[in-house]
């Protein structure tokens, strides 16, 4: 048989195949707390439960799981681009009652001020991470969120990725507080500032922010944080 003949007779529907989805944990800062965007499932299975945004890959529309993730992100937040990173692929015969399933998990970091639109057709909400355990989420999404959070936590110790969560202008103290929230512990101002400043990850905007007492210089991201790795982690 030639390859052409083979491809002609090949039909994926002759085989048992897994269900194949993409899920994204979209993280954002609201009132100095980490939130993740959740959508209410309006169909079975897990109807009425909160779930991560995502779903089946649209074979005609998506060029990769990453572009499926971008599409979802666009639909839910109106953002054309944002930091998006693949976390891992999780699979099991049990995690979806419809059958053997596999999901490619991503996480995104967005500045909440850039979020333009939230799909009105589906009920969705920004849920603080601290509230998650009180909800009985769909599928294994609580586990997925934990995996995404762990990745974010790890990245905060050896990169400056959390800058992606910040508004256009921010003070270094504000940035430090975000890191502290993600890492769950306090940081030394000196070490923290040395690190981001000497790596040129932020640049002064010339503006400052008066929050009552001494005004703090405002900084903006230089974008270096997307690729740069520090060669020592923050603490152990």
């Amino acid at each position: 048989m030639t390859e052409e003949e083979f491809l002609k007779q090949y039909n994926i529907h002759d085989f048992d195949v897994p269900l194949c989805t993409v899920d994204i944990a979209i993280f954002s800062l609201i009132n100095n707390e980490l939130h993740t965007l959740m959508v209410l499932r309006e169909e079975h299975p897990f109807k009425g439960k909160w779930a991560l945004p995502g779903g089946f890959i649209h074979l005609g529309e998506d060029d990769s799981t990453e572009s499926a993730a971008h599409r979802t992100l666009r639909q839910k937040t109106g953002m054309k681009s944002a930091y998006l990173e693949q976390v891992k692929t999780v699979s099991s015969p049990k995690r979806d009652p419809r059958g053997w399933s596999l999901t490619v998990l991503y996480f995104a970091l967005v500045d909440i001020n850039q979020v333009k639109r939230i799909d009105t057709d589906k009920k969705s909400t920004w849920m603080p991470l601290s509230d998650l355990k009180q909800h009985d989420l769909a599928f294994d999404h609580i586990e997925l969120i934990r995996s995404a959070t762990n990745r974010l936590h790890a990245k905060a110790t050896y990169t400056a990725l959390p800058i992606e969560l910040m508004p256009t202008e921010f003070t270094l103290t504000e940035l430090q507080h975000v890191f502290e929230m993600i890492l769950g512990r306090e940081l030394q101002a000196k070490a923290f500032r040395n690190r981001v400043l000497s790596a040129n990850m932020v640049a002064e905007t010339g503006n400052s922010k008066i929050s009552g007492k001494r005004p703090a210089k405002l900084f903006k991201s230089t974008g270096v944080n997307r690729e740069m790795f520090f060669n020592r982690p923050l603490m152990e």
Copy 2:
């Protein structure tokens, strides 16, 4: 409709679904060189080309993509357990001529002395990494191998994972040479030894190896390398 009714009428074959596979780059040391196990494709597509071991998930047999990877590893090397790590999931409508496809990539590190059996039904070979570019591999497998190699390289800078490639007993100089091969540069004996010894990643066996001149102490892995991360990378 109840969930039960929904599940009863749900049929995955009503939808367009991607092809879904698992591939593994199985790395091993042969004659002081990194090799990866390749199998000859005996069917279309890419018939007659070399490819990474792997293939479709067996829904009845595999509990996850990881167990599909373990099954493949067992079939190709006879090894029940070995270091196995998920690298990433790669997808595209073009990478497989049969249609939209997705593969979950793993890499494994094996001690070549523990490899018991190589499937006799499929032609397979250990290919040195340096030879790969001379071959026209199936699918995007050359890219997948590059991704797996990059991961191994990164891990060698901040963990002692390459210990998994070593035989039961080895000298520190031999281990250092393996790191040097993976990293593509020379290391300082002092720094290298301090690092693995103070982390208790290896333990003396009491034996030594005479290779002509001063005998070198033999060490064995303590297994610590699987989880331990150094808090500074080797060089930049």
